[in-house]
Amino acid sequence: MERKTNSEDYLRMYTQMVRIRAFEDQANQLYLSAKMPGLTHMYSGEEAVAVGICTALTDADRITSTHRGHGHCVAKGADFRQMFCELLGKEEGYCRGKGGSMHIADQSHGNLGANAIVGGSMGIATGSALRAKLQDSDDVTVCFFGDGATAQGLWYEVMNMAALWHLPVIYACENNGYSEYTATEEIAAGSIVGRAEAFGIESFQVDGQDVLAVNELAERLVARCRKGEGPFFIELKTYRYHGHHVGDINRDYYRSKEEETIWKEKRDPIVNFGQWLAKQGVASDTELEKIRAEVKAEAEAAVEYALAASYPDVSEVSMHVYAPNDAA
């Protein structure tokens, strides 16, 4: 019985990783074919981080996300159609087209939103955890951010308070090795883990390409957060396959093609997990191929839907500046 439950969990994680990759492949195509307004930041390569962690969460648990946020959004349960509609500025998007790629929020699944200010959501995540504590709720908040955001002072202020007040928040640092167009070792002195440890926060490092390792750690820390043992810090070593954003094509000056090839060919989280699943007899190559094909078809259909969807009426431009107040 246990074996079967695990199999379902494994296949769900595999499918979610495949969904993120498929979403990003389509988003990249939308950019390259000039069908998408603006830019976007690809999550491809980092799927095991978002999926490993979000699989440990319920809809009542909150996350805050980043400019590279599609992965977190999908992993937390978002719908392709509404996401693509948002990327294209359409009325049926998660934010009615007002947020775009960098601001998708999905309240119903506990996603408090992506954030276009690097490190900008660290206070929000910690505040969500403060609210949980004040209201005696056992939900947990995960704050996703990149290695670049560890250079923001806000993090140190909120970690201090989270540690002082034992807040149920997990700081998840996706260390993809690059802070925009600069190698992380050029911008980060000392140890990143050591910074969280300095506040007395129990800290962990995990291979961000290994979805099982990420999920096992996340399940443990989420359970401990629910018991009031938070906060925690996790550094997840990972890699982004694309540039800082979709327009960052010629990046030889900061990152070699050889390095990219090694990560893509040897460390791919989806390929490696798929091989493990086949080896364990959880699913055959054919079954995995079927999952990938179905997800691809779903993503393509969602793109077609979003391309045909309507833009918001121009009257919406001045709507939602303020939330309504209840009639007195």
């Binding site: 934010c95 929020a105 909120v158």
Partner: protein, 331 residues
């Protein structure tokens, strides 16, 4: 009616709202046992405990960020920002996060929080503890801005601010904390966007905010003694702004001076003056005059500091010149 200080009025407003709604909490530096340096919050921690009156480290961006996150997920925080000057420290959390969450999410998210802070010079506190920065936040769509001008106003506006589903910045005049005014025992709220006509008049309209309301009241008395009838209007909130009450007054008096303690250039006075000029131009007998703080950092020396802020005689003198027509032909 009983008279209480502005400080006590703010304290009562917060206590009443915290009793009414368990989601309301206070967060900031030395808000609990210390009750803030101005002692405005004294006694609240004894009633509500340290869970709801939360002392923080000296980390303004940090606790402002926490408040945004708490507000996004069901709490209604009141952020105590010890000095208005510290707004510069919390700008990202207030203006990029709190102010925009509702809009960027297409109305799905809301951020019901209050930032209570202060304004006002002439306290000999020099340039980093004396600024009146209401124009700064009024510029950002998504924020509401309240400027109480008395104990009565402070209580009613604070209660409305706490019940509002949006981020509200409320500025108290730190020189007014000990000023008493009649405040009813019974509960009342003052709605946002409804200006208060403090004094009716027919010759000139004085639009004044916060600390400048007293200044304009005194100017109106000086003018009355000379036979000039001034109308004094307190907008109470500059976002939303009750444009109609101001325009109606100016259409009647044909003259207007706008007075606010923020720096004059690019300030609250400029905005209100320009709306009057745009929308009541053909009713005007002269230019709309702005009077704000001088465009200098607030100096420490009393000999210098006092001249940086509009005073009653200066307002009265501008009114006289407007009425004599001296400003009409000014180059």
């Amino acid at each position: 009616m009983r008279e209480i200080t502005l400080s006590k009025a703010v304290n009562e407003a917060i206590a009443e709202e915290m009793r009414r709604d368990g989601a309301v909490f206070l967060i900031g530096e030395d808000v609990a046992e210390a009750g803030t340096p101005f002692k405005v919050l004294s006694g609240l921690v004894e009633e509500f405990g340290t869970d709801r009156v939360i002392d923080t480290p000296i980390s303004e961006p940090g606790f402002m960020g926490l408040a945004v996150g708490a507000a996004l997920t069901g709490s209604r925080p009141i952020v105590d920002l010890m000095f208005g000057d510290f707004l510069f420290l919390i700008m990202d959390q207030l203006c990029n996060q709190a102010a925009k969450a509702c809009y960027m999410s297409g109305g799905k998210l809301s951020v019901p929080l209050v930032v209570r802070t202060n304004l006002g010079a002439t306290r000999r506190s020099a340039a980093q503890h004396s600024q009146s920065l209401q124009a700064l936040v009024a510029h950002i769509p998504g924020l509401k801005v309240a400027l109480p001008s008395s104990a009565y106003e402070a209580k009613g506006l604070m209660k409305t601010a706490i019940r509002d589903n949006n981020p509200v910045v409320i500025f108290e005049d730190k020189l007014m904390y000990n000023d008493k005014a009649p405040v009813p025992e019974e509960e009342y709220l003052i709605p946002f966007g409804q200006a208060n006509i403090l004094r009716e008049g027919s010759d000139i309209t004085l639009v004044a905010t916060s600390s400048m309301v007293q200044v304009c009241q005194k100017a109106a008395e000086i003018l009355a003694a000379e036979g000039i009838s001034a109308e004094v209007i307190d907008p109470r909130t500059i976002v939303p702004l009750d444009e109609e009450t101001i325009l109606k007054s100016v259409r009647k008096t044909s003259r207007a001076i706008v007075v606010d303690e923020g720096h004059q250039s690019y300030g609250v006075t400029a905005e209100i003056a320009s709306r009057i000029s745009e929308k009541a131009f053909y009713h005007l007998d002269g230019p709309v005059i702005r009077m704000g703080a001088m465009d200098v950092p607030v100096p420490f020396s009393p000999a210098l500091e006092d001249i940086t802020v509009p005073a009653p005689e200066g307002v009265a003198e501008n009114a006289r010149r407007l009425i004599r027509g001296e400003m009409f032909h000014a180059a």
